[in-house]
Symmetry: C2
Subunit: 462 residues, 2 copies
Amino acid sequence: MDKTLARIASIIGPENLLRSEEDMAPFCLDWRKRYHGRPLAVACPGSTDEAARLVSFCHEKDIPVVPQGGNTGLVGGATPDSSGTELIVSLRRMNRLRQIDTANNTMIVEAGMTLADAQICAERVNRLFPLSLASEGTCQIGGALSTNAGGLCVLRYGTMRELTLGLEVVLAHGRVFCGLSGLRKDTSGFDVKQLFMGAEGTLGLITAASLKLFSRPAEIVTLFIGLNSPEEVIECLTKIRTSFSAYLSTFEMIGKNCLDLVDLHIPHARRPFVAPWTVLVELTHQGEISRFQEEVEDWFMTEIGHEVVIAQSTQDRKDLWLLRESISEAQAKDGISIKHDIGVPTSAIPQFLADAEKRLRHEFPECRIIVFGHVGDGNLHYNISWTRPGNIDLFEDEYRVNQIVYDLVYLYGGTLAAEHGIGQLKMDWLATYKDSVALSIMKSIKQALDPKNLMNPHKILR
Amino acid sequence: MDKTLARIASIIGPENLLRSEEDMAPFCLDWRKRYHGRPLAVACPGSTDEAARLVSFCHEKDIPVVPQGGNTGLVGGATPDSSGTELIVSLRRMNRLRQIDTANNTMIVEAGMTLADAQICAERVNRLFPLSLASEGTCQIGGALSTNAGGLCVLRYGTMRELTLGLEVVLAHGRVFCGLSGLRKDTSGFDVKQLFMGAEGTLGLITAASLKLFSRPAEIVTLFIGLNSPEEVIECLTKIRTSFSAYLSTFEMIGKNCLDLVDLHIPHARRPFVAPWTVLVELTHQGEISRFQEEVEDWFMTEIGHEVVIAQSTQDRKDLWLLRESISEAQAKDGISIKHDIGVPTSAIPQFLADAEKRLRHEFPECRIIVFGHVGDGNLHYNISWTRPGNIDLFEDEYRVNQIVYDLVYLYGGTLAAEHGIGQLKMDWLATYKDSVALSIMKSIKQALDPKNLMNPHKILR
């Protein structure tokens, strides 16, 4: 084994191969502390060439490779098993901006760059890279690609997949797919890059990406609106879309329970009103339309006959966002919860919420349901923070709660993984709920691209 | 063979199996009349179930299947070979709207529906399906998906791939992938639907699609702008993007040669001015912003210091579009041409045009170059209408002209197929220019999903 590690060290430089328990510790435990792995070592290549030689060597020696980005994943997708045989490959040294082109509105970044740094690269040339999510300071572009990350602005700009024009990927055998295209239209054969996005490292190691840039918004209008029911939330969304669809960048729905927890646990949060449901809306625009804020304000005051608070300053905006962004922290302070990252068609949200609550209450009469999410994309974070009051053995009920929730999600044409991926956490559920033909296509592709099952094995597919 | 055809007739109904030369003739010749095939027969299934049983039977009997939509393709992708063994499968009977959901902004249509009918379905519920291209009255959704069609509004709304949320596909063995999702976010495993878009029927037969809908624009501002050089064209695009990016839906560049031909051959066309380069720009917006047209007009008159004509009426708009849309007809009336559907990064367009003209003139001093296209997406239609004045044996020079053009396209990070696909026409060129690892991934996928090579064989890949 020492010979193996020596060879790896010779490829990437000995200082870039981590082997001590202490050095490896941060890579071995997942963000939610549900998975703990024991790797062979942690390898940090510094270039695509090093990454390719490393993966090629692993292929030759049958060493499984577990790609890891910022290790902020929520489904255990980047944590190795406990065998001590899997090599974690971290691209944190590959964090360079390779190219930025303002006339083509694209940039090429390496996979180890953090999302926040990618946003900064764009800002420096007066452009916007719009992907935005809670862990952006830590998560890396490679991980965002591998989970097809979503977040707060999908409604306007799309998920990571839609923001990506090209990829560079080291394949299981160590050859490099050079697809760093800056083209918005290219139909020269199958679009192979699509395979690697959302594949959580199971089909190859993404080393760089060509990303879309956008004009920066000149003005942002942030609104906080109180509504009485999920039906009213969807009506409000439809109305805003009819009148302001090109400007709508965020439409987040927040259940009363969430803001009750924020009130309780987050000292600086200031809740402007109490309503059964609240939506946080942002409209942004570029450039030359005068009176944008006034026109938006007039329209909302006339058309949305409920409580509406409109941010009048940057501080106002921060205060409103703090309420939304503190939900996860407030929940964590309140105790553990069974979390779901589900998607259903937007139109089905009210009925789904009613049915799910009814079925859960039937079996767990006093369960507490915490709902918030990116309703404009049909994506809900649907969490159960207790099944019985004060229940500390919550996870004993997890299987049954999941079953109730996912049964309904699929009844309404939804998904059990909207933006966090499958990883280890949802592998069995995927096998249960996913279209069987889709699963068999996935298995064929895995077999075709990674016949030795060395790329992040035992993730997504068993 | 009669037994085979009898069995096919029993699956789809004898009246839906075309066998006479006369009935089959329209299916045997491609749009540009470059490919003529001789099929076994033309089969028109009426449902997904019939299509699945048909393909399953073909799989059992080793009968190659050539899916055909509206037969408006430009690369011979839907024309069978001359062996008399390939079965054309036309989905023209499968042209129903299955579902439309205004709160989710989605619709499910069958693959045999024409693009124009899909647009109408959306209009009926006050929504927009934005894909728009010259053959929209004839081309079908299945064909638009299979070529990842682009057209006039990609800049704003994306190509067919980006407009598609889900697919239903009959696979080579006859099983059906049921993926008619209405979700904007779903990362539950590999996104297998992506494989079938742009695959020109080589991986399966698309039978239905779930498509995104948008709010209809309330106002359209159409402008015709004269500029002196490609550099000025790109500068103009960048300026408009900075100030109006959310509104910009079309940015078409037209070389002087194109409008000279339109002047010559299209009687009703009225050209407002003569300039070396012209751009046709459309800005659209939804809803509630007052004075949109005035603000746009003021800005263009101040910022774009050249000839600017702004449509003041629907008739004005039609007149301006007639100039753009008549280019292909004017070219056809003028004689044959060597056509290219290329893409290069927008920023590289000026340099590409200069270099390509220089190299072509070096070998063909008096060649005539006709350039127009969707510059906002980097997509150019780059046509050579003669290599030597009056040359009637133009296609003798085709190979060399293609070589000069494609060499430069790839030098600038471009593609030889932006929106028309590969089909038969560009198969050899693809093998020459495409990244070899990408080609090998394509071959693995083809082998994995269609091991008997029965789905549209000898297209895209040899």
